[in-house]
């Protein structure tokens, strides 16, 4: 019994710690200034005439991210002109995941004709700050007087393998509602994704 209690406590603690890392819906998201695949730095503030952003934490190597590449591109095509451009950030350390080097990111962006910014995040600074836990992991931000408010966190849709007849396009729905001046009705979803390939800690 004691053991069970201990296990319960450990789980509770672990959840509590988890809940504290990264953003929750309603938080104000930090801006960044990260290098894009075209060599230029990109920040949120650098976007003119936007209403918000679709920030996608993703990578080159994860099969789930790859399955969503075309859908991420479609989101940018659909919403950049309406004021919600896609900004993609590669979460992975290039040493831990050699398929995610800056050169490989450039290659992938060119090959797939990405029309959105695809940024590197050395030392996972913003991956950690936002609290991305897997790839792909989306944060829809709404530009407000206070700053960039997190309006939605989660999956792109509930149809990873394009086999779900009752597909809910979570990100599209959230952005559509924001564009209408409403709050998204679904603000947080889950999906299977790849773990982030963290930089190996250097032993001190």
């Amino acid at each position: 019994m004691k053991k069970l209690l201990l296990a319960c406590l450990t789980i509770l603690l672990a959840t509590a710690v988890n809940a504290q890392t990264g953003y929750q819906v309603g938080d104000l998201a930090s801006d960044f200034n990260l290098k894009n695949v075209d060599g230029k730095n990109v920040s949120l503030a650098g976007h003119k005439n936007v209403k918000g952003y679709i920030v996608v934490f993703t990578c080159n190597t994860c099969p789930v991210s790859k399955a969503y590449e075309a859908r991420i591109e479609a989101l940018n095509k659909m919403y950049a002109s309406k004021g919600y451009p896609v900004v993609a950030i590669n979460t992975n350390d290039p040493i831990a995941s050699p398929g995610d080097t800056y050169a490989k990111m450039q290659e992938r962006a060119k090959e797939k004709g990405f029309s959105f910014a695809y940024l590197e995040d050395p030392d996972h600074v913003y991956t950690k700050k936002y609290g991305a836990m897997r790839t792909p992991h989306v944060f829809v931000l709404q530009k407000t007087a206070k700053g960039n408010e997190v309006a939605y966190i989660g999956a792109i849709d509930n149809d990873q393998q394009e086999a779900n007849a009752q597909r809910d396009n979570y990100v599209q729905n959230a952005v559509n509602q924001l564009l209408k001046g409403e709050k998204p009705s679904v603000t947080s979803t889950k999906a299977i994704g790849c773990t982030i390939k963290w930089k190996k800690e250097v032993s001190k």
């Binding site: 053991k3 069970l4 296990a7 789980i11 959840t15 988890n18 994860c62 099969p63 399955a67 836990m133 897997r134 999956a155 509930n158 149809d159 990873q160 393998q161 086999a163 779900n164 007849a165 009752q166 809910d168 979803t189 889950k190 999906a191 299977i192 994704g193 790849c194 773990t195 390939k197």
Partner: protein, 158 residues
């Protein structure tokens, strides 16, 4: 005696046809657990493309093999795409000579599936669910295990 031989034969057959990986829904998994003869089930959610999952698989295999005479069973639930069953999952199981039961999750709506497995699961892999059908106890871990950590956690649910 005859029963004993039959059991051994079944056991051997069971071991040789493990390359038959089937699709399994969560309902079917629940039935599998409810109807099973074991009392402790260690259900590991993994994928062939998930590095940390592949790293910890040998520990689950070892636990399953060393628990052959105990009422404990390891079930490996792969989250590879269903379309990869024959091209990725079965060759992986054959190559690594996996003896635990392996299934590919057959659910289309991950949003519902993830919450049904556990409300606290973010969806990251690997993740492990430990069930004890006698004690009606369950524990969920969204993390990688070493062998000793796994033993320790399972010990509490035997």
């Amino acid at each position: 005696m005859q029963k004993f031989i039959v059991t051994i034969l079944l056991f051997l057959v069971g071991h040789s046809v493990n390359a038959q990986v089937k699709l399994l829904t969560l309902n079917e998994l629940e039935q599998r657990v409810a109807k099973g003869k074991d009392t402790t089930y260690v259900v590991n959610f993994w994928a062939t493309w998930c590095g940390p999952c592949v790293e910890e698989l040998p520990y689950f295999e070892r636990l399953n093999n060393e628990s052959a005479k105990k009422p404990l069973k390891v079930i490996l639930m792969s989250l590879d795409f269903k379309s990869k069953l024959k091209t990725d999952v079965i060759p992986f199981v054959v190559k690594h000579k996996i003896k635990s039961e392996v299934y590919v999750v057959n659910e289309t709506d991950q949003q519902k599936f993830i919450d049904r497995v556990d409300k606290n699961w973010s969806g990251a892999l690997p993740a492990t669910l430990i069930l004890n059908t006698d004690k009606k106890a369950r524990a969920f871990h969204e993390k990688s295990f070493t062998y000793s950590e796994l033993l320790k956690v399972v010990e509490g649910y035997k």
